[in-house]
Structures are given as structure tokens and as C-alpha cells.
Amino acid sequence: MMKRIALFVALIAAVGCQREPAQPTGSGAPAGGAYRLPAEPADVHEVIAAREQAVDGEPIVVVGRIGGSANPWVDEAAAFSIVDCSLLACSDREGDDCPVPWDYCCESDLPSATLLVQVVDDEGRMVPTDARELLAVKELQTVVVQGVARRDEANNLTVEATGVFVRP
């Protein structure tokens, strides 16, 4: 009787252990693949330069590292902040073991080197999916964003992105 119980438990364990967790694909979710660019676009601008030169409504390509605050993402929306590559994240500084290195807390003029990226669909509406899930990206990754520049009344720059290339 005990042997049968042990065999039963072993069978259950074997079946359970063989179920592998779903592996995330390297190119993001199937829907996100539509927004991932296969190659880096040309005419790339740094964030600081883009903030100075971008014209409202004109196409633009910007490169930056994902970050700029403790939470650079927007819940349930394909939007995130990127920071100019010239700035150093906390993890880029020797001996800094900051638990949230992408907040760039050691940089003094962060707002002037940051912009918001919103991934939009064909109709110009922001995709209602978390960018991490949509594009399979994470903090401090360097991304090249291709889209349209938008200026608000305070001259803040937002890029409505139609494609994102993730630098390796």
C-alpha cells in the first residue's frame, strides 16, 4: 500500500516537474514584434540634441537609455522615459551599489536630458500594453526610437514612436 502511494506521488511529481514555464521570446510578444525594428535607423539624435532641435510634428530618430526615474514605465501603456547616453547611471559609477540605478539620482540636471517615448499604433493612439511586455525591454537598455516629435505648450518633447530598435 505504501509502495503504491509512493509510486503515485512520484508520478505526480514527475508530471508536474516536466511542465516548463513559458519562456519569453527574445523579440517580445507577437504584437510587440510589429514595433521592434530589425535594424537601427539612420540619422540618430541624442536626447539632449533632440530636445533642442526637434520640431513639432516632424519625424525624428532618438537614442537613449531607458530610465530617468525609479519607475520609468507607465502602467498598462506603451510609454517610457529615456535618458541621454552621456549621463551616467548609478551602476556605471564604480562602487555605487544603488538598488535602483536607472533613476540617475547622481545626475543633477536630469529633466533636460530626458524625454518620454509613447509607442503608438497606425491611428496614432498609444498602445495600451506595458512597454516591457510589448517590446521585451528593461531598464538601462539603449534603444533607438523612430517616430514623430511632439511639443507641448511648455516645449517638452515627447516622441510618438512607430518603431523601436534595441541596441545589443
Binding site: 526615474s69 525609479a70 519607475n71 520609468p72 507607465v74 502602467d75 498598462e76 501603456a77 510609454a79 522615459s81 533613476d103 539620482c105 536630469l110 529633466p111 533636460s112 530626458t114 524625454l115 518620454l116 507641448d152 511648455a154 516645449n155 517638452n156 515627447t158
Partner: protein, 389 residues
Amino acid sequence: MVRFRLLPWHYAVRNLFRRPARTLLTLGALTTVVVLILVVVAFVHGLERSLAVSGEPDAAVVFSLGMGENLEYSAVDAATRGIVAANVAGIRSRWGVDYVSPELYLGTNIELEYRDEPALGLVRGVTAAALLVRRNVQLQHGRWPEAGEAIVGQLAAAKLGLPPGRIRVGDVVRFEGRSWRISGVFSAAGGVFDSEIWCRLDELQQAMKRQDLSLLAVTLVDRSRFAELDLFCKQRLDLNLQAMRETEYFANLGRHYRPVRMMAWVVVGLVATAGVVAGLNTMYGAVLGRTGELATLQTIGFARRAVAVSLLQEGVLLAAAASLIAAVFAVAAVDQMPVRCTMGAFALRIDGGTLLVGCSVGWLLGVVGTLPPAMRALRTPLVEALRSG
């Protein structure tokens, strides 16, 4: 199913009264151990609850970018209040009044007329909109402050190192170079606001010679609308803002106290271990002195297991009595006792979970403290045990 004859229940009870001094000492030791465990667990539960009830699920705070949870160092332009209210559609509004509370928050020295030394207290400058957003806050005594007045939370006295409720309506406190008459006492359901002093925002700004704010607290239409506020803050980089759900803000504060909570559980473990050692010491002495008696019981037909169960009954009965006494004492004397900490003050909580942990440990001590000596005594050969008796 038990297949052997057990010793009568009253045999275990009578044995406890055969040596009253030893029984009382063991009872006292176990009660002390359980009380200590209850106090430590109440500390952890009180701290966790204080943070858990402070945040509303549909509320968010907006403060300076890069400040982390250090709202005291946050500086937000006063005009931001109107800009946020006008541009974020997800903020709740009722009869034309937006649920946006501009606040100025700081830790400062508080002087009291009946105390020589100032104490570090927490002050928050608010408007009436604070009552829209901080829905847990209710005035218990007095009224909303007018010019030159302030209201205190029910744990503000504890935060300042005074007996609970010491600061009353009519008392005068002094901070930021001004005197403030206490016009009311409020409660915040045991949250962090209970340890604060609230005054009018405009008066605090005048006293501090500041025009800016520390934060905006907003109530959203529902928690799913947070993304709109977050997006606005990330778009308007000129305002230098960040938004955070209030529940997340207090959860982050709670993480800073994780080492304290872990240390508390270590103390629980150490105290429980001390209780086990004390129990073992006592029971070894009690059982080894009854070797002959236990052997006689076996001789007249009771199985070793029955004798062991009887010894276990004694230990568990003693531990259960100790747990009961400790629980009654804790509920009567410890529950709601205020405790000071850096973030304010909170009350110890002897709730159901606390009692369950404390009493369970007490019962466990009874079992663990009795079994080893019982097993040792019963392993002694019968003839040898009879001779020693």
C-alpha cells in the same frame, strides 16, 4: 486510533499541584516568554498595519522628481496644483471641487509649554481638501484649525515622547518660530497621520517663508486612472514631478523597516528558544525525580506511551495556562500601547494573528519542553527505575 489505555486526565492535573512552587515558577517563566513573544509580534503587526491603512488604493502622491520617499526634501511649485487638476482627467471631482490636496510636510522641533526640551515632531500644512483625499482622517474632538491654530493626531503626543492623549484642545505648541493653539484632535485609523500635527497650509508657508509645496495628494476616479497622472508627470518634465500610488509609497516606506521586522522575528525565535530551554530544565528535574513512580505505573500495566502522554498532558496544560494568562495580560495592558519610531508613532496590536502566534508558540513550548525528558525517563530499564524510586 489510540490502542493503549491512557492514564486518567486528573492524574496529570494533580501532579501539577504536587509541587506547587516548581509549578508556579514554570508557569511564571512560560507566561513571561509568551508575553514577550506577544509584545514583539504586536510590534510587527502594529508597524505593518500603520503603513497598510495609511494609503488609499485610489490615491496618489505627486512630488519632486528624484526625491524617492523623502517628501521633506521635495519642493513642488504651488501653481502645480492647478496645472495637475486641469490636465489630468482621472482625478476625482465633486460639485466642482477637485480632490487635490496641496501639502507642506516637514519634521521640526516642537516646543511644548509643559516640557523643557523640544521634541522632533511631524508637521503637515494642509487645506480643507486634505479631508477629501485623506478619508481615514476624522476629527474626534474640537474643530478644524483657524488662523494660529493646529490639530493633532491621537498619537502625536506619543511621537513627542509624552503620555498618550497628553496634548489636548486648548494647549499651545510652538514650532517654526510661532505659537499654535490646539483646536482639535483627529484620528487616522491608526495610520501614520495619527502622529502628525496639522495646521493651515498658508500659515505654515508664511512661518517657513516658503511658497512651494512638498507634495500634492490626489484621489483618482479609480485606481486604474493612475496611468494618466503618471503619464502627465513624465510628459511635463518642466514641472520636475513624479507620481506614485499612495499604497506603493507606504509600501516602500515599509521596506525600510524590513530589517527591524526581521530583527523582531529573530527576537521571537531567541525568546522562544529561551523558553524551551527553561522548560526543558524544569521538566528534566521534575521527571527524573519521578523515575520510580513512572516505573511503578508501567509495572501495574500502563504502557510507556500512556505514561509519556500523561507527561505531555502536564506540560501542555501548564503551557496552555501560561498562554491564557499571557494573552489576558497582553490584551489588557499592551494592546494599543503607543510606540515611537522615526516615521511617527504607531500602536501595538494584539489582534487575532498576534494571539495565534503567541499561544501557538506557548503550546509548542509545552510539547517541546516535555517530550525529551519524558522519553529519557521512559528509556530507563524498568528494574533500574524501580530501584532508583
